[in-house]
Symmetry: C2
Subunit: 266 residues, 2 copies
């Protein structure tokens, strides 16, 4: 089976124009089929402020009401997606911007109301890879924003890390799927204040110990849950770290010695 | 050669939620390969007002500055495109939202500055149908917004009527291409105040007479120029009228007698 890379980038790259340009020119050069998933960054909050739409919170959790969904759709699927696609084209990478509604690729259900009504938030139910696969086989690179749909005409806000892992799982029947989460740190750190303290390898067993010891906590917990969910569902491997982990894989060993990142496997 | 329908809708449908729903459910049922092109409607102006961005005009012509381009990208490629795609999926029509940057499908050049600097406005230079054609052959319906790119990373604002005609011309080498402009009138009218005074057929010769006689003037002139440009470049036929012209073509003759529209041919 061919290797397929699913690469997720977040706000630290999207909000920094130079970082985004550098990332995209390197991403464009990556050989083989690939999918890019991008988060939202600060632009949606900035736009909401400009439009004087207040961010709604319940019990400290953000709520996606109809106005917020509109903003997210405009910023993620409009401005950010098309900016990335146009820049990839400028780097000779033939990209197409996708939401989960496009090609009916990611179907979700509106999160049921229990203690909190999260509004227009979707939990992924099904991934349809057939249209995407046709494009990949024709050298087209899908670029996903963090929006899905319910097949009944409703767009839904879905976490970008989850979209990346669900796509990786969906493709695992056809490809050796590798999932890369790019973020601002070198990976999972033993000491959050020491960027050199990277835990280079995590598996299901050590994962539980790291949670019990409080090393994986807060924002890293849902991210790592996505990783473990992926490797438990036929995704070949998951890597977390700075984008360097991705672009220097083919350079001589002596040059890559300083690049550390975390690999999660079964 | 197979027939391909390129259908353009404008603000009168996009701004009216019920009209849009009705249109999309009928559009979804249309047999054979098809492409939808949508204009912008009033939402972009509304958003600009909410963000207190002023509409810039020079010599009575609208200017697309960087802020306006951002708004257009958010509204056209984000909100409107994804709303249409999600609703088509709900009607079992497998759609994907496109700008000209996606799949490198429509390349334009920034309009040169002569008397007026129009800003980020693109004049279409090339249409690449290869990726689109692969999708059409797999029952996917491309949905185009009125944004193109220059292959150097710059998005550009392009007239939706022009996008529809250039796509129709681009596809004419592979399909018998039919171009449909849906708008609020029954077609080209002899008397602008009489919706029954439809000129049912126009060709290159009668076209010039209609201009000379002042029947085709103002806003109809650029629209009709797009039509004539299309039929002069291998597009099979162009029709202008209300969406009914499209959806009742297969009903018995007695029921369609009241539906009038204008057909432009060579």
């Amino acid at each position: 089976m061919e290797v397929l890379k699913i690469i997720k980038i977040g706000g630290n790259i999207i909000d920094d124009d130079i970082a985004l340009d550098t990332f995209l020119s390197e991403f464009a050069k990556l050989k083989g089929p690939k999918v890019l998933v991008h988060g939202g960054g600060k632009l949606a909050t900035k736009l909401a402020n400009q439009m004087t739409i207040e961010v709604k919170m319940t019990n400290g959790r953000r709520i996606t009401d109809a106005d917020t969904l509109d903003i997210i759709t405009m910023v993620y699927a409009g401005k950010i997606s098309k900016t990335i696609v146009a820049r990839l084209q400028a780097n000779s990478c033939n990209a197409i911007g996708f939401s989960g509604a496009d090609g009916n690729s990611i179907v979700s259900i509106k999160r049921p109301v229990k203690d909190v009504d999260f509004g227009f938030v979707g939990d992924v139910e099904k991934v349809h890879t057939n249209t995407l696969d046709i494009l990949l086989k024709n050298d087209v690179t899908p670029v996903f924003c963090a929006i899905t749909h319910d097949e009944k005409g409703q767009l839904l806000n879905t976490n970008a890390d989850t979209i990346a892992s669900e796509l990786a799982i969906g493709f695992a029947k056809d490809y050796k799927t590798e999932l890369y989460y790019c973020f601002e740190k070198n990976g999972v750190l033993k000491d959050i204040n020491d960027d050199a303290s990277v835990i280079e390898s995590i598996n299901a067993k050590t994962y539980q110990t790291l949670i019990d010891d409080g090393v994986i906590a807060d924002g890293m917990l849902p991210k790592l849950n996505n990783c473990v969910h992926a490797v438990n569902n036929k995704v070949e491997k998951v890597c977390i770290g700075k984008p360097d982990m991705l672009f220097n894989l083919s350079t001589p060993l002596e040059e890559t010695e300083n690049i550390k990142f975390t690999t999660i496997s079964k």
